[in-house]
């Protein structure tokens, strides 16, 4: 278990170990295991290994990625190089001959269509479904496993908002690790959408002296905690500056990125006043068994190197009526999420009954992320 979470160095304290000990066998160290339970059945694993044992080798030799995207030692490199040469020769003749397998052809077809598809925002619902189907099929062809990917649009009369209770947050960072696991973030670079700032009592909200990379037992004496992430501004500067409209505000208020349309210029990153965006400086890697297979096109599907990504309020969850992973993981109840247009929602109650405030309101970005204290 600790091996599995090696990438995450910030939260190895008591709290986490306790949780690990009580894990219910779903392989998920965080409190919630419902979402992943079905996909981690031992039957499934059995099936996978059986398939691997019988056709695993063939699968390995099939397709460009399987040959080139593997770490190998020098001995096997020659073997694979020969195999890849054969495949290369096959690819050249594939347009006319019938030698190449149907699977290989299909994969090439998918890669071609994916490379030249349009901007997701401008797609019709039909086209959205097509690309999602292509991506699922491509994953199946590459790994032999299935994922479910949604292209669910925003629902009417929904506008998501978020509130953060500064009095309650103790800096445990369960939200951070739940976010990383839920959203398939790169494990090596410890990419985190959420930053928890540890601030000194008596200094107020002084970000300059705050520490957003602490590593010690929490809550630390004489400190309080405050989390930041993408605030899903109603007037987002990052959206304005994108030269190719690869990022936009959805109708339910979520600011999303089309990872396949992004050209990686990082202008949005410079424009964001809230440090809400992250860039894939390397090829993001998630161990196969840790991949969250419940995905959304605009949310936690696997990213490529050289593109932007960010918090999407866990669009794959929130559009299904669930809370984002950070809200669910928070043991203190400091995080509140809901529909701002629903008068009976908790978030509305907080906004109406608490003295709420937002960060850097003077910039006119209208964040949909409020802070309050008990």
């Amino acid at each position: 278990m600790s091996e599995k979470n090696k990438w995450y160095k910030l939260n190895l304290g008591l709290n986490r170990n306790k949780k690990t000990a009580t894990t219910c066998g779903c392989g998920n160290s965080e409190g919630n295991c419902n979402s992943k339970k079905e996909k981690k059945l031992s039957e499934q694993e059995f099936y996978d290994s059986a398939v691997d044992a019988s056709i695993g080798d063939e699968r390995e030799k099939d397709g460009f990625d399987q040959v080139f995207d593997v770490s190998m030692d020098r001995r096997s490199a020659f073997k694979k190089l020969t195999a890849s040469l054969l495949i290369g020769a096959g690819a050249i003749s594939s347009c006319t001959s019938v030698i190449k397998s149907d699977e290989g052809k299909e994969k090439a077809q998918i890669d071609w269509e994916e490379q030249f598809k349009g901007n997701y925002k401008l797609m019709t619902d039909e086209e959205k479904e097509k690309t999602v189907n292509r991506l699922m099929r491509s994953y199946e062809l590459r790994t032999g496993k299935n994922i479910s990917m949604s292209s669910k649009n925003a629902e009417e009369d929904v506008l998501f908002g978020y509130a953060f209770n500064i009095s309650k947050c103790q800096g445990y960072m369960n939200c951070v690790s739940a976010c990383v696991e839920e959203n398939n973030q790169d494990r090596k670079s410890q990419k985190q959408y959420i930053r928890i700032h540890e601030m000194k009592d008596g200094e107020g909200f002084n970000f300059n002296t705050a520490d957003d990379n602490y590593y010690h037992e929490v809550p630390a004496e004489g400190h309080f905690y405050m989390g930041t992430q993408c605030f899903h501004c109603d007037n987002p500067p990052c959206v304005e500056v994108c030269p190719v409209k690869a990022t936009w505000r959805e109708d339910d208020g979520i600011v999303v990125v089309d990872y396949d349309w992004c050209v990686g210029c990082r202008y949005c990153m410079a424009a964001c006043p809230y440090d809400g965006r992250r860039f894939n400086w390397t090829k993001p890697e998630v161990p196969e068994e840790e991949i969250n297979k419940n995905q959304h096109y605009l949310g936690n599907r696997m990213r490529k190197k050289g593109v932007m990504e960010k918090c999407t309020f866990c669009i794959q969850r929130s559009r299904q009526g669930q809370n984002p992973a950070c809200v669910e993981a928070c043991p203190t109840g400091a995080r509140i999420f809901g529909n701002l247009l629903d008068p009976s929602s908790t978030i509305r109650w907080v906004l109406e009954n608490k003295k709420v405030f937002r960060l850097k309101e003077d910039l006119g970005t209208e964040p949909k992320f409020w802070y309050f204290m008990d």
């Binding site: 970000f207 500056v241 409209k245 349309w261 050209v263 990082r266 424009a271 910039l363």
Partner: protein
Amino acid sequence: MKQLNVLKSLVIDSLDTITKGTKKYHIWMGFLTLVMIIGMYCYSIQLEKGLSVTGMSDRVSWGLYISNFTFLVGVAAAAVMLVMPTYVLKDIDFKQAVLIGEGLAVSALIMCLAFVVADMGGPSVLWHMIPGIGVFNFPNSMLTWDVIVLNGYLFINISIPFYILFQHYQNKEAKKKVYVPGAVLSVFWAVGIHLVTAFLYQGLQARPFWNNALLGPRFLASAFAAGPALIILVLAIIRSFTTFNIPDKTIKKIALIVTVAAQINLIMLVSELFKEFYAPTHHSESAFYLFFGLHGKDALIPWIWTAIPMNVIATIILTFGKFRNNLKVLYFCCVLLFVAIWIEKGFGLIVPGFIPGPYGKIAEYLPTGIEVGVTIGIWALGAFVFTILAKTAIGIELGELRYKNK
């Protein structure tokens, strides 16, 4: 059809010219090629491993590439300082220098585009930015404005000299009616490219260091000092290596332009420093970081304290006509100014914009070897392109290259 034949002959002749030359010329071109190959090798590593091989991070997300891009836009814009008097004010002094200036603009623009592409995370999907095929977020994104003005400027600066040289190649006089409107347009366009590039940064409310009304004008002033300074140096080199006649008068006139621009630049610097340090606010932290360091982090101090004295000394020396008219002193001042502004408008402008970060985090930036390799490679590319353009242009202007009708 005849025009096509002339063009074909021009291409063959110019290929002939650029592949022949003195030993020094071949060593120079060979050296540039070697540097370019090293740069390409570094870039191939970057392509394979991603931008993680650079010093950039989520905290400082633009670095050496964008710094050089910003500076070179200024160099490209500076060609206008030569175009204006020659074509518009009918000051014939500059005529020889103009072709060189425009060649410099073209190579600077090619370098700009190369730096932008090098900075992209996904160069393979750059077609997303092409209007028509992709999605062009115009007019909202200043980056799309920049794409338009840079490519437009590139087009203007290729077509005007091409027309003139093409006519001269056929022993014809270039028609004023044809190229003067283009030259006038390029004057406004040059101001446009630099102002738009400044707006790229100026328009970000997230970065107070950039979000200041003086940024655009100061860009212009510094560009019109650094660009012509480079032109003076290039003219000096061309003068000593070819028979191309560039009178002292031309160089001295350009020196006057450099001086005035450098003086205005200095006034604006004083204004900026006053604003940041007389009544420092939370928004002055980037300037504090740049000039004095913040919380013990001081990577940029040596750079900026090299640049500022160089800038001031060069400007003071140039102000006195006696020194300015001494060519050796002038060249020395031009080198000082060019380096000073490269630091100030590159590194000194882009990096502190990100430091401290939106929540006060100070993460320093240092370019890696690969980043430096790619950067030097792109500079070599610029020098290579310029050498080719200049050699052809000089050949035509000297009458060595002429269209021979069969």
